[in-house]
């Protein structure tokens, strides 16, 4: 018996992932600290103080939230096995809902409408994919077209004659409160201004994160945490994820597969709508046609980037928001990023050498040298190039670390109940 037990588990199996999973928070913290140190060092060398300034961080936050929320929407539905390319469309619906109601009845009402509109988009997706078993991508693409068409059509009908608005934009929406942790600013600002190694960086980051933050940003962060708790720490979440991993197994244990898929996709839509609401109300204070600018897709990317997990998703969105803030705010800092890339590549190359992956290492080295040379032979990047920053960075990071992605087993598969 016991011998059987030992041998039937594949002996070749590597150290169980659990062990690593336990120490993961520590590892991440360590990584973060190292990364920060490197960043700080480069900041000191190049005195591109914007690399870790409060301004950058808070801008990054604002830019990351819509992507993060959209990605979170994607995460909910894909965890239940429904691919959601329609995020963009649902987001567009959200922006319009927020603008249309927002300028008349205030931001909170607008926000609610945004969520509602997104949710409707989600339900359409659910009906198509779950009830009619349509290919998920097709439905998603259709919803993107619909989202655009419906909003433009409605805007023409509902906003054309609004004061200070028009067919393509809403009148301004009043802003939401931006609370701060009291007393913090006074302490951190001087610290940051000294530009000390590491200390000022931490001060800057804290200041960016804790002062003058939109209430909606706070809400967004809470939603990410809540999503983790709900999906990974509750029976509801377990059932929802099981539906995305193996619907037939779930079904055989009495889980109402379709119900959970519906809930997940609806929530997904609601979150995408909220992302749109954030864009309109917090980021812009106004609804404008084409406001989402493909953020739905970026959100999707962030989710995959984050390996279908809230933490990873947050990192993905954060990285994107940070680099985007960088390129919008400060060309010098972007230029300094070249050095960061150089450092990053060096580390990775070292790892590859250690792992005896010669080719990969060589490639990495080449790119490292290139970025260094580029840095040394230029004192600013041309405007258009800087706008590439977030996209290139995302690709770069993925290329350096994309292997162990694990999407839900039944993700994107059309589910048909036993015997149907």
């Amino acid at each position: 018996m016991s011998t059987t037990l030992e041998t039937t588990t594949p002996p070749a199996a590597p150290a169980p992932e659990r062990a690593t999973r336990l120490s993961q928070p520590l590892r991440l913290a360590l990584y973060a600290l190292v990364a920060l140190a490197v960043l700080s060092l480069i900041r000191v060398l190049t005195d591109a103080n914007d690399l870790t300034s409060a301004g950058t961080v808070s801008a990054a936050l604002t830019l990351a939230v819509p992507i993060g929320l959209a990605g979170l929407g994607g995460l909910w539905s894909e965890r239940a096995g429904v691919v959601n390319i329609g995020l963009e469309g649902m987001m567009i619906l959200g922006t319009f809902g927020a603008g249309w109601i927002g300028w008349q009845h205030g931001p909170w009402a607008g926000l609610l409408t945004a969520v509602l509109f997104g949710l409707i988009g989600g339900l359409v997706h659910a009906v198509a994919t779950v009830t009619f078993g349509v290919d998920h991508v097709v439905s998603g693409v259709a919803i993107n077209i619909l989202g655009l068409g419906v909003t433009q059509y409605l805007a023409g009908e509902l906003l054309a004659d609004s004061p200070g608005g028009g067919e393509t934009q809403s009148p301004p929406i009043s802003a939401l409160p931006r609370p701060s942790v009291p007393g913090l600013d006074g302490v951190l600002e001087p610290l940051e201004k000294h530009h000390w190694f590491l200390i000022s960086d931490i001060a800057g980051i804290l200041r960016g994160l804790l002062t003058n933050v939109s209430i909606l940003t706070v809400l967004a962060v809470l939603l990410v945490i809540a999503s983790y708790v709900i999906l990974w720490q509750t029976p509801f979440g377990l059932r929802l994820r099981s539906v995305g991993e193996d619907p037939h197994a779930a079904e055989s244990l009495g889980v109402k597969v379709r119900l959970y898929k519906y809930i997940a996709v609806a929530v997904s839509g609601g979150l995408a709508g909220l992302a749109g609401g954030f864009l309109a109300i917090v980021a812009s204070g106004i609804y404008r046609e084409g406001q989402t600018g493909g953020r739905g897709y970026i959100g999707l990317a962030a989710m995959i980037f984050g390996n279908w997990r809230p933490g990873g998703l947050m990192m993905g969105a954060g990285l994107f928001g940070y680099t985007d803030a960088m390129q919008l705010r400060n060309a010098v800092a972007v230029h300094a990023l070249l050095l960061v890339v150089f450092a990053l590549l060096l580390v990775v190359t070292a790892l590859n050498l250690y792992r005896r992956k010669w080719v990969t290492a060589a490639v990495g080295l080449v790119f490292a040298v290139l970025s260094l040379v580029w840095y040394l032979n230029s004192d600013e990047l041309p405007g258009p190039i800087t706008t590439m920053t977030p996209y290139v960075t995302t690709l770069l990071v993925l290329a350096l670390s994309a292997q162990r992605l694990r999407m839900p087993k039944a993700d994107g598969l059309v589910y048909r109940p036993e015997g149907k």
């Binding site: 290919d135 259709a142 068409g149 059509y153 990317a301 041309p382 995302t394 290329a399």
Partner: protein, 378 residues
């Protein structure tokens, strides 16, 4: 059997019909809700579409869409989602235009060169995503999304007067050096008494469409492609080198994408300028899905979208918001697949009934005997 074929044909017609009816109904509802007379609106569009010039415009629009949709469809055939067609065709068009404007060659060669450049650029740009997927495991969905934005920046970087662009006197536009006559493709008077000619490259579209069909359906490569698309593991076991397939199909998809801008470039604008149409790649996705990734279906889808886009021009003049057609397009994509899905389910059930009829008869032992595994001893 004959009755079968009749039914099969009937079914394959049922789906599109159902879809059209559904989308017309919904569109009408939306129109009516906003106080516009649906019937009148459709009449307007059709009347307008029947004008020779508009017909020509519709065909031209469809030609462009066709390339885009084929590019996407090719990827879909082996489960690759190339969202990057948009970036691929823009970069290809821009560089091809630059080359075409820079050189002077005898007509055929000149055009050939431009097309070649376009295909190569599109293919290589797409191959980047392929490489990332094969060697670094980066999902092509992300990489192509990112590459689209990178393309935009790249073009902006290159399209300046000190690099590839020229600025006409008094113009605020900026574009590549215009392609001389030798590099232009004359239009064809396909539509009788239309002052507007149909893009000469419609011929190329037909050829590419045929090749697409032939390669996918009749070649070994196509078989491997579809095998890898439908069951990758089985394909590997059968000796398909999936990594290579991914690279090739990504590159081919991008190559076709490279052609998207050509009808416009060589048939009408002759330069890649700031107002060169963008976003066709995304329309292509919708059309590819609408056309079930088949050469013919995609052609029909392209014509449908071409019709809706162009004939909607008249609506504004009549005070009907032309965004309505976008709603129609979305609804069509959705209702078509729903219709196909319903028909597909019906087919499967029918087929199982078939299997059942032959396999499981009323359990009378007499009938049973000849079917017992006894017979297995061959």
């Amino acid at each position: 059997m004959n009755a079968d074929t009749v039914r099969r044909v009937g079914l394959s017609l049922a789906a599109p019909a159902l879809a059209i009816i559904l989308s017309l109904a919904i569109t009408s509802a939306v129109l009516a809700a906003a106080g516009n007379d649906p019937f009148d609106t459709f009449k307007q569009m059709i009347e307008y579409a029947k004008e020779p010039r508009t017909t020509a415009m519709i065909i031209n629009g469809s030609v462009t869409y066709y390339f885009a949709a084929l590019a996407v469809a090719f990827g879909f055939r082996m489960n690759l989602f190339n969202i990057g067609v948009d970036g691929q065709y823009r970069l290809a068009a821009m560089l091809a235009a630059a080359v075409g404007g820079a050189v002077s060659l005898p007509p055929i060669l000149h055009v050939g060169l431009i097309l070649l450049v376009a295909v190569l650029v599109g293919g290589l740009w797409a191959a980047v995503a392929g490489l990332l997927k094969v060697y670094r495991g980066v999902s092509e969905v992300i990489s192509t999304i990112m590459l689209n934005s990178i393309t935009t920046a790249l073009i902006a970087f290159l399209l300046t007067t000190d690099k590839l662009a020229v600025q006409a006197e008094g113009s605020n536009n900026i574009g590549t050096k215009p392609i001389p006559a030798s590099g232009q493709v004359p239009g064809i008077g396909l539509v009788p008494d239309s002052p507007l000619k149909v893009y000469g490259l419609i011929v190329l579209a037909v050829i590419v469409g045929f090749l697409y069909w032939f390669v996918i359906e009749h070649s070994r490569f196509g078989f491997d492609l579809r095998a890898a698309g439908r069951n990758e593991e089985a394909a590997v076991a059968s000796g398909v080198n999936v990594k290579r397939m991914i690279l090739i199909s990504m590159a081919v998809s991008g190559g076709i994408a490279g052609l998207v801008g050509m009808p416009q470039l060589l048939g009408s604008s002759y330069t890649y300028s700031l107002d060169f149409p963008a976003g066709i790649g995304f329309t292509g996705i919708a059309i590819a899905l609408l056309g079930r990734n088949t050469a013919l279906g995609v052609a029909i889808g392209a014509l449908l979208f071409g019709f809706l886009d162009n004939s909607s021009q008249i609506l504004d003049l009549e005070g009907v918001p032309k965004e309505i057609v976008m709603i129609t397009q979305g609804v069509i994509v959705l209702s078509v697949v729903i219709a196909y899905e319903l028909v597909r389910r019906y087919r499967i059930v029918a087929q199982q009934r078939e299997v059942g009829r032959r396999l499981s008869e009323p359990p009378a032992p007499a009938a049973g005997n000849d079917k017992t595994p006894q017979g297995a001893q061959a």
